[in-house]
Symmetry: C2
Subunit: 321 residues, 2 copies
């Protein structure tokens, strides 16, 4: 049997770390996950991760050959291979994460933030195949953005992610975890939707099952389920989220000129309830020369697979060069 | 005497068209201008332009060799070589301007909008020499933007300019000529400054020589002169302009990651009265990871020369390849 080249894709989150072996066609041959336990030292984490990888690797058929490792992680710096000031990972200031992995593996290792990995995944394995200019927006606890220009991820001068999530909606607006006020991700994200629903419960008088729930009980999933049943507060919460997201996507289009924008992450699973009004508002806010020229679509990668596929795509895109 | 390669840089405006012969070092050997008379047909315009170019060209020393023509024009499409829907040029929908010029000259011809030309000019002849990621903002009647990423102008999917001037400040805000409301250029431009001063005259009670002027008499230059003398309304108008510009520059930095932003155009001649507060507000609005990493400076090209130099730089940058 001929040799099959594969890569390892690793997605590091504050709670869980998942990884999988992925071939060039985007098939996940095997995958697993482990607790991140981010209070451990980063050296202990990498040692534990290596052990788990080896456990899985021995079960791979012998004709597989590992060519590279791609990593998606919060606050990763692509140029330096580092994870810097990641608030959900208690590893201190700047960690040379790619360097720590290279101590165990003598193959190419690359790291970037999760939204950038999602964008490369979309380009290699998802709905952006064949596109040169597009954007992936990850809507989860926060809002991440990966911007591809002329076929390359837009890193900017210092190698960090592009942060659409921290552009300004309202300087007197909601407190953001980044220290600023009024950032887009405080409105357009799973947590932003919940905050909008809470505001609407205060502002409006419509009856809603949301009124029987505590703030902590209200989740984006519950708001989605109620919106499907026609709940007025829930529907209005989606509409306000869509309006703010559509407005800021129009700004991002004016600056970077994509042919398509893909929504990814937990909140994007709301589908048309979010997608349709966002598209409408985006069109309304677009500069005339761009109207009708940008597609807004859902990601083409399965929600549970996109993180590993994105990390794998990162290293595949470099091995392809 | 050895041969000297030169290019022709042409800047087309609604009122005047200027052009000049420029060497690779950015020296303008000779320049002149003519009325655009945009009510004439575009064919008549190009014929008249060609005649004027020939008049100037015959006086050039014989050892100069013309290698290319670069053109800066409103609503120019770089990929197609066209000028499209330019409201200040009554040439109809889409004009193949590069094609019309090529009928007279059998050398490379390239066209882009004036802000993009300014950005390439800054890279070749101005303060962006050696930079790979930067932005030029032209503050005149409107607000234009040229964004350079990894050493290349960011055109996006369709070849038009990137339009920071038409990103959103306030959806319920000032009417813009583009048909939308609340675009950045209705606040941060020479005309935007005048509109802000008018609003302040309505909102505040401070005495000011501006109260003796009609709306048509108030210009950005007069507001600047009064600001230098400590006029409260004028100073506040600059401060509000700086705040909005600083906020939207912070958004643009989050999306494209430049190492520097250069202000150009008539309003930038206000210097520190605009530059200092804009820089302060920009820093305040920056996402923590970018704070302190982006320089805000004035253009390094002389205001009266930048349009011709930018157009010349456009074609030099292609001949260099």
């Amino acid at each position: 049997m001929s040799n099959v080249n594969i890569v390892l894709g690793i997605d590091i989150g504050g709670t869980n770390t998942s990884f999988g072996f992925v071939d060039r066609a985007g098939t996940i041959i095997t995958e697993t996950s482990m607790e991140t336990k981010s209070n451990d030292s980063v050296k202990d984490f990498v040692s534990r991760l290596h052990y788990r990888i080896q456990e899985v690797r021995v079960d791979l058929p012998s004709h597989h050959s590992l060519c590279g490792i791609g990593i998606g992680a919060p606050n990763a710096n692509y140029y330096r291979g580092t994870i810097e000031q990641a608030v959900h990972l208690n590893w201190g200031g700047t960690v040379d994460f790619a360097g720590l992995i290279r101590k165990y593996y003598n193959i190419p290792v690359s790291i970037t933030n999760d939204a950038n990995a999602a964008a490369i995944g979309e380009m290699l394995f998802g709905n952006a195949r064949g596109m040169k200019n597009f954007m992936v927006i990850t809507l989860g606890t926060g809002l991440g953005s990966g911007i591809v220009v002329d076929g390359h991820l837009l890193y900017g001068n210092r190698g960090f992610a592009r942060e659409l999530g921290h552009t300004m909606v309202d300087p007197a607006g909601r407190q953001c975890k980044c220290g600023k006020k009024g950032c887009l991700e405080t409105y357009a994200s799973a947590t932003g939707l919940v905050r909008t629903a809470l505001t609407l419960l205060a502002e409006r008088c419509d009856p809603s099952p949301l009124r029987a729930m505590s703030s902590e009980e209200i989740t984006s999933k519950r708001i989605f389920e109620l919106a499907q049943k026609g709940d007025k507060i829930a529907l209005e919460a989606f509409d306000q989220t869509a309006r703010i997201l559509g407005m800021k996507l129009a700004d991002a289009i004016a600056l970077t000129g994509p042919e398509a924008i893909f929504l990814s992450g937990g909140l994007s699973m709301a589908g048309d309830i979010l997608l349709k009004p966002t598209q409408q508002y985006m069109e309304d806010f677009l500069f005339s020369a761009y109207k009708g020229s940008v597609k807004l679509m859902l990601s083409g990668m399965a929600p549970g697979k996109s993180a590993i596929l994105g990390a794998a795509a990162l290293i595949w895109s470099e091995l392809d060069l």
